[in-house]
Structures are given as C-alpha cells and as structure tokens.
C-alpha cells in the first residue's frame, strides 16, 4: 500500500494544485460548469486510448485540445457563450466515449478514476505536466484577470485577450486530462471548480485567492487519494467528499464573518 501511495500521492498533490490554480480563473470567468462539461469531453479521448492502446491521458488531452480550439473558434465566430457551445458539444463526446469503451471496468475507471493502476511514469507525467501548466498560467494570469475586468482596458494596453484565452483553455485541457487518472472524467470538473469556490469565500485579494485555491485543491485531491487507498474504494468520490468538507467550512467562515 505504501508503494502505491508513493506513486499516487504526488499525482494527487500535483493535480490538486494545478486544477485549483487554473480553476481560480475558471470560477472568476464564471465558467465553472464549462470546466465540468469539458472534463466529460475527455471521456472520448480516454476511450480512444483504450481502443487503440496508447496512453489514455494523451487521448484525453488530444480530444480536449481539439475541443478547446473548436470552442474558442466557435465563440469568436458566433459570439455564443462558452456555456452554450460546450453544452452543445459535450453530450456528443460523452455518448461516443461510452460507446467506444470496451468493458464496464474500464468505463468505471474512466468515469470515477482509479489509482490502483498508477505506474511511475504516470506520476512523473502528472507532476511535470502540472508544473508546466502552473508556470504558463502564472505568466498569463494578470492578463486574463484584466481581460475579465475590462476587455477594452486590456486590449488598449496591447494585451491579446483572445490569445491568452486560447492558451488558458489549452492548459485547462492539459490539467483535466491529467486529473482523469485519479478523479475520473465525471468528477475532474469538481477539482477545477470547488477548491476555487471555497478559496473565493475566504479571500479579499488575488494572491490569497489563487494560493488558497491551489492549497484547497491539493488537500482535496491528496486526502481523497489517502482515503480511497485506506478504504479500498474508487478515488474520485473520495476527492469530492474531501473537497466538499473544505467548501462547507469556507461557507461557514464566510457566514460567520458577515
């Protein structure tokens, strides 16, 4: 059990921190449900990985990458909100993914995550990808926030808001694809949205908000991994339960401070 934990705990912490950090922007952009829907799109890539025997995270990322570009492009052309576009496309990907996955066991793993099959390479991949995603997001964080405050203000200062949005969507795809291994495609959206929502309840400035979001993400994911290992159950639901405890605590704190 200790060997497994040495492999899965670093994934939990890495994915938790990166999903929490990127999620802090997702919540500010009021796109929390988009993150959730996008994670369902990943199921199709996961299924393709199983079918054609290549790494499932790579398949998930490839499908998310293409979806992100389509979503970004459709948004620019149609001026529809991200919600509308994602809502229109994710069900198709989910249906195709479920159809393509060969057996029920793989489907369960894809939907709810499974840490039992984690190998050293998975851990290294998850940690490296998470670090890259965090660094790149840090580089565009201020630009994205300024674009949310006023797109005109950002553009008038020479910021290419549209390009920053695209890069951000691609980074979210990367983190979601990595997170599927431990949380599953149905629940990875939780890691993007809920730690950030909890952090927002207890933050009055941006630094604290992004930091707390990352910390809450790490605590949710790592405690979920530990619990699932101890109780011998699927990891995804455990991550959700841990994250919800933090969320409820943050709501109580906010309620008390009013």
């Amino acid at each position: 059990m200790l060997d497994t934990l040495l492999l899965t705990l670093p994934i939990g912490i890495a994915v938790g921190v990166s999903a929490g950090y990127l999620g802090s922007l997702m919540v500010l952009k009021k796109m929390a449900l988009v993150g959730d829907a996008m994670s369902h799109v990943a199921l199709l890539g996961f299924a393709l990985g199983i079918r054609f025997q290549f790494p499932t995270w790579l398949g998930a990322f490839a499908v998310l990458f293409v979806s992100a570009i389509i979503i970004w492009d459709l948004g620019k052309v149609t001026k529809l909100s991200f919600e509308a576009i994602v809502g229109a496309t994710f069900a198709l990907a989910l249906a195709a993914g479920i159809y393509l996955i060969p057996n029920q066991f793989d489907l369960l793993e894809a939907l709810f995550g499974d840490i039992a099959s984690v190998a050293l390479l998975d851990t290294i991949e998850a940690v490296v990808i998470s670090i890259i995603a965090i660094i790149l997001t840090k580089m565009i964080y201020d630009k994205l926030v300024l674009g949310m405050i006023s797109e005109d203000l950002a553009i008038s200062k020479g910021i290419n808001v549209s390009r920053a949005d695209l890069l951000y969507l691609l980074l979210v795809s990367l983190v979601v694809a990595t997170g599927i291994k431990i949380v599953g495609s149905l629940l990875v959206g939780f890691l993007v949205a809920v730690p950030a929502a909890s952090a927002k309840n207890v933050s009055s400035n941006l630094l604290r908000y992004s930091l707390m979001s990352s910390v809450f993400g790490a605590i949710s994911a790592s405690s979920g991994v530990l619990l699932s290992s101890y109780l011998n159950v699927l990891s995804g639901p455990m991550v959700v339960f841990s994250g919800m405890v933090i969320f409820v605590a943050s709501v109580l704190l906010k309620w008390r401070s009013k």
Binding site: L28, K30, D142, V145, L146, M148, I149, S150, D152, L153, I155, S156, K157, K200, S203, S204, N205, L206, L207, R208, Y209
Partner: protein, 229 residues
C-alpha cells in the same frame, strides 16, 4: 493662425459599422494639444464607439491620426470588479510595478486607507479615481475618459472634474471625455463635440449656452447641416 503641430488628434470621415448597423457616419473633428473636448450626445449616439475607434478597438473606415509621440490613458465606462477578489494595490501593480502609493496620491486617495481594499467594495468616486490612477501610470499625454462620473454620487462628481482640470493645466494633458451633463461641458471643457451618429455640433464649449446650438443638441438630428466652428 492654426499650426498643424497644434493638434494632437485629427479625425476625418470616420465611419463605424457593426453587425450591419451604422454606428458613426462621416465624423470629422480635431483636438488641440492641452485642451479638453467633451463628447455629448443621447444614448446610442455612438460616443463610446467613437472612443473605441480612436483606440483602434473596433474596425472603422476613414482616418484617425494621432500625433506621433502620443501616449493614451483610457478609462472605460464599465468595469466588472464586483465579483473579482482583487485589491487596489494588486490592480495598480498590473502596470509595471510602479509605486502604488504615489499613483494613489496623484488622484488624491489615501494609500493607507484604500490600497488593501478589494476594488469591488470601493465607492463609485474612489473607483473612478483608482481607474484614473491606472490610466496615469504610463505618464500619458492624452486621457480618454468614458463617462467620468458613472456610479458617483452627486457630491462626488465635481471633485473628479476639478481633478481632471488640474491634470490638464499642471500636466499639459489633453482630455477627451464623454458626458451627458451640459453643466460639465460648460464648466470643465474647452471644446464640445455633439454626436448623434454624425457630428451635430463641433466648436467651443461656451457655445452650448447659445439657443441655436441647444436646438441642434436637443432637437432633431440634422447631420448634413451640422454647425462646425
């Protein structure tokens, strides 16, 4: 005698069409350095779009010619800060890490009192001042200000215009502002551009008290026969 170097901005035959709608039609005017120009007009007259065209934020036809070494500071009408946990200090630090206390002092705000506050809980007047501080960070020579007193209570309007006037005088800044308020035009601007898709009046602001000019402002739009001074 007018010297071509006196002007910081020349706009000729500016037309903006968005989604097959004509927003601005053949707008012509020029702005002298170190003066203030108030843009006045009813809702939907194209005032904000005019500013966006001047900033190259929307596609347009015609010519917008700024002086070569122009540095523009822009304060938009609406910003979304109510739902973003960002402090005044963090917002101002987005711009090259300049000394936040100095920036706030320049707009007559107490740095100790406001720098740690979230933008979303500032009063309308404080928020406008923070936005002016933001716009002034690069030491611009032109300030574009869309509705300076949006969200500001009645008592807070006058000090903002007094401050803008001081900036114009002390920093030799050119100021373009959008307003609905005739009193502001009369008291705080040198020139007036009345807009209703096209220019209905362009001239010195004191002309606003002239009944013939007021008829063009409040009467029907007469684009072809707009008085130009």
């Amino acid at each position: 005698m007018e010297n071509s170097n006196d002007f910081i901005l020349r706009v000729s035959n500016l037309c903006v069409r968005l989604q097959n709608q004509t927003i601005l039609e053949k707008v012509n005017f020029k702005v002298k350095k170190g003066t203030s120009l108030a843009v006045l007009g009813p809702n939907g007259a194209g005032k904000t779009i005019l500013f966006k065209a001047l900033l190259n934020l929307v596609p347009y036809e015609g010519k917008v010619e700024w002086e070569e070494k122009v540095k523009i500071g822009y304060v938009p009408q609406n910003i979304a800060v109510s739902d973003i946990p960002i402090s005044v200090e963090e917002f101002l630090s987005f711009r090259n890490g300049r000394d936040v206390a100095n920036c706030l002092e320049a707009v007559k705000l107490d740095a100790e009192e406001v720098s740690k506050k979230p933008l979303g809980i500032l009063s309308g007047g404080q928020l406008r001042r923070v936005l002016i501080a933001w716009a002034l960070i690069d030491n611009p020579n032109v300030l574009l200000f869309d509705e300076p007193t949006t969200g500001v209570d009645i008592g807070g309007e006058e000090p903002i215009f007094v401050m803008l006037n001081e900036l114009k005088k002390n920093e030799k800044m050119t100021i373009l502002l959008i307003t609905h308020d005739v009193h502001i035009v009369n008291e705080y601007s040198d020139y007036l551009l009345a807009l209703n898709k096209c220019v209905t009046f362009f001239g010195e602001s004191k002309e606003i008290m002239n009944p013939a000019v007021q008829r063009t402002l409040y009467g029907e739009t007469v684009c072809a026969g707009a008085p130009q001074r």
